[in-house]
């Protein structure tokens, strides 16, 4: 499964990169979502996969009974998901604002800060 997930991560990344280079900033956002997803999965799989056993300690036990999933990457991914959510939310609002302020979602039309014909 680790190898398979590595391939899945690659496909996610490829889709994301393709989306991010699209003209519409909405598609960029979608690409961003996918890219974060790919990054999260890559951390998760980099910590190696252990089927099933969640890193929980049974009542009365001092430590997990058997082999459990690697907890550290889970914590990292969790952190990364929440951070990614914050960043995505901001980016979304920014794109929305770009639409209301600049009147476009097209990346190519966003030329206010760097005008085509510099004075």
């Amino acid at each position: 499964m680790e190898s398979l997930l590595a391939i899945v991560v690659g496909i996610l990344a490829a889709s994301a990169v393709y989306l991010m280079m699209a003209r519409s900033m909405m598609r960029f956002l979608f690409g961003l979502m996918l890219l974060s997803n790919a990054a999260n999965l890559s951390i998760f799989v980099a910590g190696r996969l252990t089927e099933g056993a969640a890193p929980l300690i049974e009542d009365g036990a001092e430590a997990p009974a058997g082999a459990v999933a690697n907890a550290l990457p889970q914590a990292l991914v969790l952190t990364a998901i929440v951070i990614g959510f914050g960043l995505f939310a901001f980016a979304l609002v920014l794109v929305w604002r770009a639409w209301t302020t600049l009147g476009t979602l097209e990346a190519d039309d966003m030329r206010i800060a760097e005008p085509k014909d510099p004075a």
């Binding site: 499964m1 680790e2 190898s3 398979l4 997930l5 590595a6 391939i7 899945v8 690659g10 496909i11 996610l12 990344a13 490829a14 889709s15 990169v17 393709y18 989306l19 280079m21 003209r23 519409s24 909405m26 690409g31 996918l34 997803n37 998760f44 910590g47 190696r48 089927e51 099933g52 056993a53 890193p55 929980l56 300690i57 049974e58 001092e62 430590a63 997990p64 459990v68 690697n70 907890a71 550290l72 889970q74 914590a75 991914v77 969790l78 929440v82 951070i83 914050g86 995505f88 901001f90 609002v93 920014l94 929305w96 604002r97 209301t100 009147g103 979602l105 990346a107 760097e114 085509k116």
Partner: protein, 762 residues
């Protein structure tokens, strides 16, 4: 700019700068007895010992000569300027810059540390930039200032490199040590680079051809500046450097020929240019160039004659040139013009100025009994002492001298005693402060001409000692050295010079024609700057296109290239391993992939959102399958909220891509696949190696026993790595605050204007 005295004077405070300069002069003057014995004075402080840099100052013959010229002429110039710029609103900063310049110049000639020398060198550049730009309200003034800065600045950079290498070659930054290491340095592998780089600095600073063009333009500055910087001092910094390095670096063929050729070409070229000028100040500016060429020429040599000639002419030139500049300034100040064609008949109105000018001009023309004569004789003697090509060198010097004579005539005769022209203002004599300088300087030229021994013992001999290391090489300064070849050459000079003065208009016309085809370097400079600006614009427009998609593409290409380069150079070992693959996993992977591809392909926003939801759900399935319930829950909650947010934002956004969007972007697709592929390959290589799980092992053991939590992931989040979590919630707070700022901020005026435009377009 208002060069003319305004209604207000500067008051007694205006004399302070001159008094300060005088004080300095007096201080240096008091050192003359010590230095004239061939001794030197050195003071130093540790400044940046870790870098091997000292704040060290050395007074020897060479530096004292310069210091006296700088502070002495500085005193007179400041005195002069006080009247020249009386009542000017910017008198204060002018005086400040001028004094600062003087101090920098003094530091330059006194510094006994390579880096300290450079620092003062650059300070003179900076202060002269500000001084040349005194007439900053005109485009011309700004251009001249920049040109001077740019050319000398460029040289200075080479110079810095040269100094660093010199320091490295010598193993010390102490100049007084370096000058004694001539033999070692000349044999050093770095000799040639050091020499070339230092010469680049010296030649640009001293306006040697082909870097000369900035100097005449620098005449945009007020006259006191021209007199001080561009005749007496700053331009001589390059010459000073060559003289200072003479003991250490001279004596090689490269040194000899570079300095000789550059000096000779500059001298002749400048003399010729000088005669062409109709602006008195410009004419003088070119004679300064000529003098610098001549000085450089002598520094190319080793002979005692050349060294003595150098020392003498250095002083001579400073005296008469400063006097003439100041006098021309007085004329300008009085009449409002410096045009030769307009000026005439000023003699009766400005008798003192006329006298000072005449004396200085006689010295410049090289007539006895003025110091200029002695200087000229020594020049010929020095030129003839050149071992290899005496005729060529002497010929160049002769031509230059003759032209100087003609220019002296143009400056001293025509304006005062020629027919009166249409002057902008009725002339009257300049006030005493403006006369003191020219008179004193001209008088000194006469004094030293009649009593050359005064100069010989006090400054010339010590300077030659600095240059050659001993007093043996010094030649005597004499007004009458008997009938010899130099005297004959002098007479030839007079004849040719007078002829040139008489037929100056014809000569000028002839030169116009002759120079018509020579490229004018001043214009070449403009072309270079325009080219530079054009190139910069091209680079800027090519790189920073303003289009996000270009930026993104380059970024992804760079990332891919970096990874690919790493893989190709370092080599990695990816391994595919599908053992133990469960079919449910394959199905989940397939969901994610379908979701991702759908999101990438569909042009319908809602479909894309749903597709993203699928990849999210797929990821959650993986998290569930591999024991990460916390992550799965968080992922699902976040997915849900993302849908809520997107659904809200989408209310105002278009649901489809704008028409015209081509979704066939094969190049992008290739790039995307490349990036994805690279990520996969790296991941596979990593997964092929074993993982050290000691961190998690520790967490598993400590989670309950030490941190009292059974959910290890949560314990990591709130205890083991709580700092991460803290940062993370800060991200959440700030992200939402930032987004809120965008959402609630009232729309700006500019936005409303855009709205109006949009409406108008519809």
């Amino acid at each position: 700019m208002n060069d003319r005295a305004g209604a207000r004077g500067n008051g007694p405070l205006g004399l302070l700068p001159a008094a300060f300069a005088l004080l300095l002069f007096a201080g240096f003057f008091s050192l003359v007895p010590t230095i004239s014995t061939g001794a030197f004075v050195r003071v130093s402080w540790a400044w940046a010992p870790s870098m091997g840099i000292e704040a060290a100052f050395l007074v020897d013959g060479l530096s004292l000569t310069f210091a006296l010229l700088i502070s002495g002429i500085g005193t007179l110039v400041l005195l002069y300027a006080n009247t020249y710029l009386a009542g000017h609103v910017h008198w204060g900063r002018f005086a400040l810059f001028l004094v600062a310049f003087m101090l920098a110049m003094l530091g330059l000639v006194l510094a006994d540390d390579l880096i300290l020398l450079f620092i003062f060198w650059e300070l003179t550049t900076l202060t002269s930039y500000l001084l040349i730009g005194f007439s900053h309200t005109t485009e011309k003034g700004r251009r001249s200032a920049l040109q001077a800065l740019f050319v000398t600045g460029a040289g200075a950079l080479a110079f810095l490199a040269g100094l660093i290498l010199l320091g490295a070659a010598a193993g010390t930054a102490r100049i007084s040590e370096i000058v004694g290491m001539g033999d070692e340095l000349r044999a050093h592998a770095l000799y040639l680079p050091v020499l070339i780089l230092l010469l680049a600095g010296a030649f640009t600073k001293s306006a040697q051809w082909p870097f000369h063009f900035w100097l005449p333009n620098a005449m945009a500055a007020p006259t006191p500046v021209s007199a001080f910087l561009h005749s007496a001092t700053m331009v001589k910094a390059g010459v000073y450097l060559l003289a200072r390095m003479h003991p250490a670096l001279s004596g090689t063929d490269v040194w000899l020929w570079t300095l000789t050729v550059a000096g000779a070409v500059t001298a002749v070229f400048a003399s010729v240019m000088s005669i062409r000028q109709s602006d008195l100040k410009q004419a003088l500016a070119y004679t300064t160039l000529m003098a610098l060429g001549t000085l450089t020429l002598f520094l190319g040599q080793d002979s005692g004659y050349a060294m003595t000639a150098f020392a003498t002419f250095l002083i001579v030139h400073s005296l008469y040139k400063a006097a003439l500049f100041l006098a021309v300034g007085a004329i300008d100040h009085a009449t409002g013009t410096r045009e030769v064609g307009l000026l005439g008949g000023l003699g009766p109105a400005m008798p003192v100025t006329a006298l000072a000018t005449a004396i200085a001009a006689l010295s410049m023309a090289g007539f006895p009994p003025f110091l200029g004569f002695i200087g000229k004789e020594l020049k010929y003697a020095g030129a003839l002492a050149v071992a290899s090509e005496p005729v060529l060198v002497a010929g160049a010097v002769l031509l230059a001298n003759a032209l100087m004579l003609a220019v002296a005539g143009i400056v001293a005769l025509r304006p005062f005693w020629g027919p009166a022209g249409a002057l902008p203002r009725k002339p009257r004599e300049a006030p005493w402060q403006m006369l003191a300088g020219p008179l004193l300087l001209a008088a000194l030229g006469a004094l030293f001409g009649i009593y050359p021994a005064l100069l010989q013992t006090s400054l010339v001999t010590p300077t030659v000692i600095s240059l050659t290391g001993s007093a043996e090489e010094v030649k005597e300064l004499k007004l009458w050295a008997g009938v010899n070849l130099p005297l004959l050459l002098s007479i030839v000079t007079y004849v040719i010079g007078v002829a040139m003065y008489i037929w100056r208009d014809a000569l000028r016309r002839g030169l116009e024609r002759a120079f018509a085809r020579v490229p004018i370097l001043d214009l070449e400079y403009d072309r270079f700057m325009a080219g530079l600006a054009g190139f910069a614009r091209w680079v800027s427009a090519t790189v920073q296109t303003g289009r996000l998609r270009d930026y993104l593409r380059v970024t992804f290409v760079t990332a891919l290239a970096a990874l690919a380069a790493g893989m190709l150079v370092a080599g990695i070992a990816p391994r595919l391993d599908f053992t133990g693959l469960v079919w449910t996993d394959a199905a989940i992977a397939a969901f994610i992939v379908v979701g991702a591809l759908l999101a990438a392909i569909t042009r319908v926003r809602v479909a894309a959102i749903a597709a993203l939801g699928v990849t999210g759900i797929g990821s959650a399935l993986i998290f569930i399958s591999y024991g990460a319930p916390d992550v799965a829950i968080t992922q699902l909650l976040v997915e849900t909220l993302v849908v809520v947010l997107v659904a809200a934002a989408l209310l105002q956004l278009p649901l489809l891509d704008a028409p015209g969007e081509s979704d066939h972007r094969p190049a992008d697709a290739v790039l995307a696949i490349g990036v994805g592929g690279a990520v996969t390959v790296v991941m596979l290589a990593v997964l092929a190696t074993p993982l050290d799980r000691r961190l998690s092992t520790y967490f598993e053991a400590a989670s309950w026993t030490e941190a009292f939590g059974r959910n290890i992931v949560n314990v990591i989040l709130v205890d083991f790595r709580a700092l991460d979590t803290f940062g993370e919630i800060a991200v959440v707070v700030i992200a939402t605050l930032a987004a809120r700022a965008l959402l609630v901020a009232p729309r700006s005026k500019a936005e409303r204007e855009i709205d109006v435009q949009k409406e108008a377009a519809e």
